[in-house]
Subunit: 372 residues, 4 copies
């Protein structure tokens, strides 16, 4: 059981919001990892994935190093050996354990990593009221950093469980209301022209989200929703994975070399397609958005559907219009209970750098003569 | 805590010895694994190694399949899914999990595997008094099979801990009396001629240990003890790993390609050579036999020492003369407490197929003119 | 000796220009290959390169297949077995020889490939006056296609000779007037805004060069000439290849993994840097443009120089202003004698898809406040 | 045309035989290479093979280095750069070109290598009458060394031609009398016991052929002839390559991984099995010995036939009884014309170290009770 971080320690008016935010983020990580055993949290299923325990400790190392060590007088490291183990790629912070051997670290145990988290959380909440503005900015950065790792954590643990022939379920079946079948795709036209993209305003943003700059869009139309599993199954049934003409040359070579016939984690059973998820193997939900498809697959689907993928800038222009409520995809991950009295706005961003993780949206190039 | 198998269940006079033997072997496996966490017992450090949990379950699967399933009416499998997970390479027993993915099986947990062992042990001890001669032979085979896996288990877990930058110790420091420095190597002459090799008598033997047959030995002399760590350090100090002339061509290529400079797990510290073992990293014991050297290293050492490695048949002839008490090397593995009242004669045989595991013994070819 | 193609066969006014063009292109290929032996023209130095003989035959196969076979009644293939050998990647044209085994084809010999060329050239020049407009378009395409292969041919043969420890020179030393040291780089400002890019007009263009479309440029300045070998040597001397901070992460990983310390074909001698070229190994010319650097190297250089690489569209905008005479880089390749009475305008385009072949140009992003 | 070496230069009685032998060996190499073009002799088809030109130059380098350079005062190297190119693996002779890049050496050309041979041959024949005994021994060694490379040369050039989709024939069809179908295999019994193996007498032998020593044979019977292509085809037809039970585990893994279905160079055509050879692709000769099978295939065949492969010592004992005329297999290689007036006894030994090159002979272990 994760011991909830107590936000009431941070009482100074100007930092109380930050303390709440910090506590919520830290608790969510514990909640996501709660169903895992020591072994579940230790094993690394491939070089591109990290063990849950590593995600839990690395995010803690971030706060310990850049806030406590650098900004809190007298702070003593919880364990002198941890920085070597839990630094990721910050070259300036010295040597670190090879990424593809993270799964060898059976010790410290999961409980010891939880103790590491508790130690750092307590020190952070003690320190927060007195932190400088610079240090507060680092706390905010660390919260976003940990949210990124939450996305990786659920992605990586899914991959690990998928490698177990028993296909264990991390969570019981979702008690969600069934998704209603959406209406056919509609097309949202954009007249093209110069648009502004990139972060603006005073809120937090990662380095790579700015600076805000102009981009030129061609006139186009973009789908008003994502592609469903049901539509993808129709693509498969229509020879989507067996006809070279839909695919980029490199994509087709990948399909042939790897024997790809469906999205990752899909399998064909007697009663149709199933997919493996954190709630185990279940029939695909034809109304839900397709997930775990690669760029090549998304591109081939778009080609089959008579469209193309949107450019980065077309996508940003479209996404910006969805507003604050449009992007919450955490409920896809599983039945996480938010900490009592808390609230969390965790938006699962696209997992960059992970194969086969993007959700395609369709874009149609229209031939706009004089009249459009 | 391993629950000791109760040998008192097997009361029939003709099988009581076998029941004791079975109980002792089964308990030793639990004792060897006792210091391990769930994560320790789950991780696979390389394709050539298996997780401890797998060794524990696979040896259990052997008894469940070939004794209980095949010879005990009404026996129900403990878990229908386990044969797929824990079969190793018995082609006739159907599909099995890929060897290099054994480390993905975080579930069943170590406790569940212990429960599997307890279930099968109880059924075995119930069944033993009534087993046919054929089935009893399979029990004896299974005990030897499990002893082989005990050797692999300690070898594999050592490799796994060695991959953790923290180099955790599985056992506290051995409380052994220090090994006395042995006398200089003496040479035991053999006049050559036809000798008999291979298993004989009524005792147990593996298939590959027979049939007994004749072999022709040249006159030779073989060292009367194994090479020590201290002698090996002298070899290193004398350029053993830096001069091509001691090495076979393939061995030299291996040394250059892999950057080999000492036996596996050795490191040079400020106070001299250390080695990593199940009791952590410690100074090498100059009086103890060298371990974790490959065939190529052993061959190079022998060449440096003005000798050569013995042939398989020279070794067998020499080993046969050591008698029943000569070969117990289990005490090298660590401070295992034998189950109360039990006794075990576990001889750690050479781990065939594992890189860098042989203990070299020296053989000198003498040029025997008329007088020898 | 290559037998020059006789353009006088194509006498019809409307096709005489195309015949001259065809003859000039075909003769240049022979001239480029003239110094090569049968073995030189056969060997393939890596999977990404093709033998000269293959380039010579493949370009011939193009005309034979798409013009003579498809548009000239009664044409008989020169050799029924050649299409399998000399098709490159036209899926619709059937099976073909594996790309990385092209160097196994010692037969047909270089002379036999020259005979193949002569046969097809004669048939082409006979046919040209009567070709339909569509077929004439294919002839023009084939000429451009062959010019692309001329670039590959000299690039590939250079690589092949560089793999010979004797480093043979294909051509004698260039009798060029020494290049004058250029003036320091000047910066050509561009105010940004929407520009048009892509092919326009009636002239020939490859598929990927259109359609013409708008692109948005930021205000920037681009260097008015390419980087010289002398400037690159200064980059090396200043730690260019030893400091991670100039490099993209993937680039730095490549530098470390491959031991990259200078542009391809450069070596440090007692008297300074030398480079290998088709005229053998010679001192670098500090005034000449640097060549054989990869994207990663170009990017690191630009970073070191306080600039960045131009975008594709910035480059296109800049290159468009150079006019018709600016781009001829054929003289870099060596002292080719144009066939008597002929003329050729062969422009060596950048060799896309070849590692380490781009010529970097610098672009500087200016922070344009109100005044620019 | 190779210019025949003139043995008449070596007139001193005590060396005239050696001069004849030298000339015959050198001429045979030229004769074997006579049908090859410059390109044929230059290309290297895999890392385990060497170009013909390399074989021709390396064997020449051997005489130039160890005889002329070391034993003939005033001899000047033909080309100072050749030792680097044509040394194979004599570590003491300094750096050498990487083995797997030998095919990059288009220059020197085949004609230049022939000139190198002619230069060294002339110097050798001049020097031979005055050579010391030690130097004469090196000449004899060099002749045997060159005969080994003749075997490699024909093996390697066959592989190279086999990689050309046109499958060119090096030689016209053999004008041999058809091989008569041999009688069924008979079995030659050996009563076992101690036999002597290894070189004896004053004749030449390679290092690895001695010293002569005793070996113990079990009673056995060995086939009185090699296995024929017809018998091998029966093995294939009976599921030889599709049933795991005939194969060693590593062999079966190789069959599955590589898709092996027949001996190397065999293909199934409409009229049955064909094989590729230096005389092109032809129907297999059912009466001729099977060739180009690996150890694994030979072992599987023997298992299928109810026998096993002979041990090295059983084979040596059997081969020794064949006498001087039994082993000439050069006629398998093709229609080589011996130099006029010469004679050659070239025996093609088994090409050790080459995949799939051994000729299996069958050995049957008999259970010899009292009566045998």
């Amino acid at each position: 059981m994760p011991s909830p971080v107590r936000p009431d320690r941070a009482t100074a008016p100007e930092t109380s919001h930050l303390a709440e935010r910090f506590a919520a983020v830290r608790d969510l990580t514990l909640a996501l990892a709660a169903p895992l055993s020591d072994a579940d949290a230790t094993v690394q299923s491939m070089a591109d994935a990290s063990p849950t325990k590593w995600h839990m400790a690395h995010t803690t190392w971030f706060f310990e190093t850049f806030v406590l060590r650098d900004h809190v007088a007298g702070y003593a490291l919880h364990d002198e050996r941890f920085p070597f183990l839990f630094n990721s790629y910050y070259e300036a912070e010295g040597r670190r354990h090879a990424r593809d051997r993270r799964g060898m670290v059976t010790r410290p145990s999961l409980d010891e990593v939880r103790a590491y988290r508790a130690h750092v959380d307590a020190a952070m909440l003690d320190a927060l009221p007195g932190l400088s503005k610079d240090a507060q900015t680092l706390v905010a950065l660390g919260c976003h950093h940990e949210e990124q790792h939450q996305e990786l954590l659920v992605t990586d643990i899914l991959h690990m469980f998928s490698e177990n022939p028993l296909e264990p379920a991390m969570w019981p079946a979702a008690r969600k209301v069934p998704v209603e079948m959406p209406a056919p795709i509609g097309w949202v036209s954009h007249e093209g022209g110069i648009v502004e993209v990139g972060h603006y305003g005073d809120g937090f943003a990662f380095d790579c989200e700015g600076p805000r700059h102009a981009a030129l869009l061609a006139p186009h139309a973009i789908a008003d929703r994502t592609v469903t599993n049901g539509e993808w199954a129709a693509f498969i049934a229509d020879g989507g994975y067996t006809e070279a003409r839909h695919w980029l040359a490199d994509g087709w070579a990948w399909v042939k070399a790897e024997g790809i016939v469906a999205p990752l984690y899909w399998e064909q059973g007697e009663a149709g397609w199933t997919r493996f998820g954190l709630d185990g193997r279940r029939a695909i939900d034809p109304a839900a958005p397709v997930t775990h498809v690669s760029f090549f697959e998304a591109d081939a689907y778009a080609s089959w559907a008579g469209a193309r993928l949107p450019t980065e800038f077309e996508w940003e222009a479209a996404a910006a219009s969805y507003g604050a409520n449009g992007g919450n995809q955490m409920d896809l991950a599983g039945p996480v209970e938010a900490p009592a009295g808390g609230k969390w706005s965790g938006v699962l961003r696209r997992c960059l750098g992970m194969d086969r993780q993007c959700v395609p949206a369709l874009s149609e190039v229209r031939d706009c003569g004089g009249g459009c």
